[in-house]
């Protein structure tokens, strides 16, 4: 086991797959010579050369288009969209072209490509550089959606995403880049679509992902220590494919379901999970389904304001307490 940062795990996964398969190419803005603005891909240009690792102009539509055209003709491109927010400037290519063309052509081509991005809040970058738009991607049939919380998952799931024959939108939570964790030695690949129970519990199931995982874990400690409430924390890791059975199994035991989402409230992924649980585990539910999200507002920049609006351990604890007492 080596200890890597979340940031290093990104580069390690791309390098692992590039070594394994010549069809893997990597490109984006400032990713080659500069090694990425978060320095996640330093060294790739040196190791794999300028034909496989390329800097692009500020042209996100061209980047995604290039990935799509390359994927449908035999390559396995990995492209970086610098910030998740910038999917908005190339959303047609992502949501209308990449996602739908396999279906529209009756399965004539596959699109084995990965679009990775820096996502989420925590760096006080304001409303246009801090979004967590996993739900934008989840809403589009034809896209797989991955959002890891640990270095090991970054490595294993990014490798799997690169090997996957379908388009994957890979969300790296930027406030986690400096976090460290053990990563298995040797080739590391984890299957997509398997959630991880990061803490077992009996009173409430909390589904979450990425930077909200450590916050939910902190909340679980408090809930246990102060209130004797035993929370099971599920790190979803993937939203598509979704490990619905892990959720349903957990709720069937705990009888209570809470989501913790970084995105603004409306149509967040938690709503989808809530609707699955409300349909399929209704009889197991002992109380309302509660969603803890950023309120339905753009994100403010200042540290004090950003901290106030994002879900934190306290808000999670309060909501779970409210849920438990409600009965």
């Amino acid at each position: 086991m080596a200890e890597l940062t979340y940031r290093e795990a990104v580069g390690a996964a791309v390098a692992q797959e590039m070594r394994r398969d010549d069809a893997v190419v990597f490109f984006g803005e400032d990713v080659a010579a500069p090694g990425g603005i978060y320095k996640a891909t330093t060294g790739l240009l040196d190791e794999f050369g300028p034909e496989r690792v390329k800097d692009t102009p500020i042209s996100e539509q061209a980047i995604v288009g290039a990935a799509m055209g390359a994927a449908m003709t035999g390559l396995r491109p990995v492209a970086e969209i610098m910030y998740a927010d910038f999917f908005a400037v190339c959303w047609d290519l992502v949501a209308n072209q990449v996602a739908k063309t396999r279906y529209m052509t009756d399965g004539q081509c596959a699109f084995p490509l990965v679009l990775r991005c820096a996502s989420g809040a925590g760096l006080r970058l304001g409303a246009q550089h801090s979004q967590s738009p996993e739900n934008w991607a989840m809403a589009i049939p034809g896209l797989k959606v991955v959002a890891p919380s640990t270095p090991a998952d970054v490595m294993g799931l990014l490798a799997a995403s690169i090997r996957d024959p379908d388009p994957v939108i890979f969300f790296e939570q930027k406030s986690l880049y400096e976090t460290r964790g053990e990563v298995p030695d040797g080739e590391h690949v984890e299957p997509l679509g398997v959630a991880s129970v990061v803490r077992s519990g009996t009173d409430v199931t909390i589904a979450t992902l990425a930077a909200m995982v450590p916050r939910a874990l902190l909340a679980a400690e408090t809930l246990q220590d102060r209130y004797g409430v035993s929370a099971e924390i599920i790190d979803l890791r993937c939203l598509v494919p979704l490990d619905a059975s892990a959720l349903l199994e957990s709720v069937s035991r705990t009888g209570r379901f809470v989501t913790v989402e970084e995105n603004p409230r409306l149509c967040g992924w938690g709503a989808e999970l809530a609707s699955i649980v409300a349909e399929e585990a209704f009889r197991a539910l002992r109380g309302p389904i509660v969603r803890v999200t950023t309120p339905h507002i753009p994100l403010p920049s200042a540290a004090a304001l950003e901290d106030a609006v994002l879900p934190g351990p306290d808000r999670i604890v309060d909501n779970v307490k409210r849920l438990v007492n409600l009965e």
């Binding site: 061209a62 288009g65 290039a66 055209g69 003709t73």
Partner: protein, 324 residues
């Protein structure tokens, strides 16, 4: 140019014409699913490029793509069947007229969002370059398209990366019902912008199939050397933008003037003046019509696509499941 090539160009144009006429019948006979966009009058572009392309090259085109699909080798039956949503349809009804695609013929798709396919063509060209296959890419679009952002990003990247791609603007004067010159800052929407990407402006008569063929051949070999091109081919669509468009936006006399420049009679005259027997040409036309008629019959007789095809091929595993 040798006679054989010329006869082939003539035949292809005739076939394209006959195909588009039958496609219009699909609409008139109320057999059309959704919409369709005909290229009647623009056949010289499809035929000229079709003849210049190698089998392994890639084509990307728009919703106005029946003829571009046909010239790559897709059957008329598969095309007309797709318009009608039949089992024999190229995409079994999942795409419709606007999305004709046949990867095995190098026809990498008809794209229905204006401009979207230009960046995708760049990607395919990059892949050809990376894989050193010698393949080239041709990407067709209309005169309204150079005003959208994706055009601009694609052209720049293609030049920066020195890709084997030929961009072809078929300037038929209109974007839907709006004359392109009314909403465009330059006179020739593509050619006048070539220098903005370090490219030479290439403005050609898109109704002269010899010119198209030769321009295509030159551009394709330049592309294979890593030098992309942007070609503007001036042409006209005889039909409406789509379906039942009555073309009220046309100034009086415009259609007639362009009918006088119809690429097919124009080429027939040229071939006759070059000593080719008029009867041979009439035979080609008759055969083209017969082929289209037969395809129309086949497509009509094909059953509607069964509902279960709607639920497959979202994912590469063939399925549509998003959860366990």
């Amino acid at each position: 140019m040798d006679t054989q090539t010329r006869l082939k160009l003539y035949r292809t144009m005739s076939e394209c014409r006959a195909l588009e006429q039958r496609a219009y019948d699909v609409f008139k006979q109320n057999l059309l699913n959704g919409t369709s966009h005909l290229a009647l009058g623009q056949e010289a572009v499809a035929a000229g490029f079709g003849a210049a392309l190698r089998a392994e090259d890639y084509t990307f085109c728009t919703y106005r793509g029946h003829t571009h699909t046909y010239v790559r080798g897709v059957s008329m039956t598969a095309i007309l069947g797709e318009l009608m949503g039949r089992q024999c349809g190229l995409l079994r009804g999942k795409g419709g007229s606007m999305h004709l695609t046949s990867v095995k013929h190098g026809m990498m798709g008809s794209y229905a969002v204006v401009g979207a396919h230009l960046p995708v063509a760049v990607g395919a060209a990059w892949s050809a370059q990376y894989r050193r296959t010698g393949q080239a890419v041709v990407c067709f679009f209309g005169d309204g398209t150079p005003n959208i952002g994706a055009f601009h990003e694609a052209l720049n990247l293609a030049v920066v990366w020195k890709l084997p791609v030929v961009f072809v603007c078929e300037n038929n004067l209109y974007a839907e019902f709006t004359p392109t010159r009314k909403v465009t800052a330059v006179e020739n929407p593509a050619a006048d912008r070539a220098p903005a990407y370090g490219l030479e402006p290439i403005l050609i008569n898109g109704n002269d199939v010899d010119v198209v063929y030769q321009t295509a051949a030159t551009a394709l070999s330049r592309a294979r050397e890593g030098r992309p091109s942007l070609i503007e081919a001036q042409t006209y669509r005889h039909s409406g933008h789509s379906r039942a468009d009555p073309c009220k936006y046309r100034p009086p006399g415009e259609l007639e003037a362009w009918l006088a420049k119809d690429p097919i009679p124009l080429y027939r005259e040229r071939l006759v003046s070059l000593g080719i027997n008029a009867a041979d040409l009439e035979k080609i036309e008759a055969e083209s019509k017969a082929a289209a008629d037969q395809a129309m019959e086949e497509a009509r007789n094909s059953p509607a696509s069964p509902a279960d095809v709607a639920y497959v091929d979202v994912w590469a595993d063939g399925g549509a499941a998003w959860r366990n």
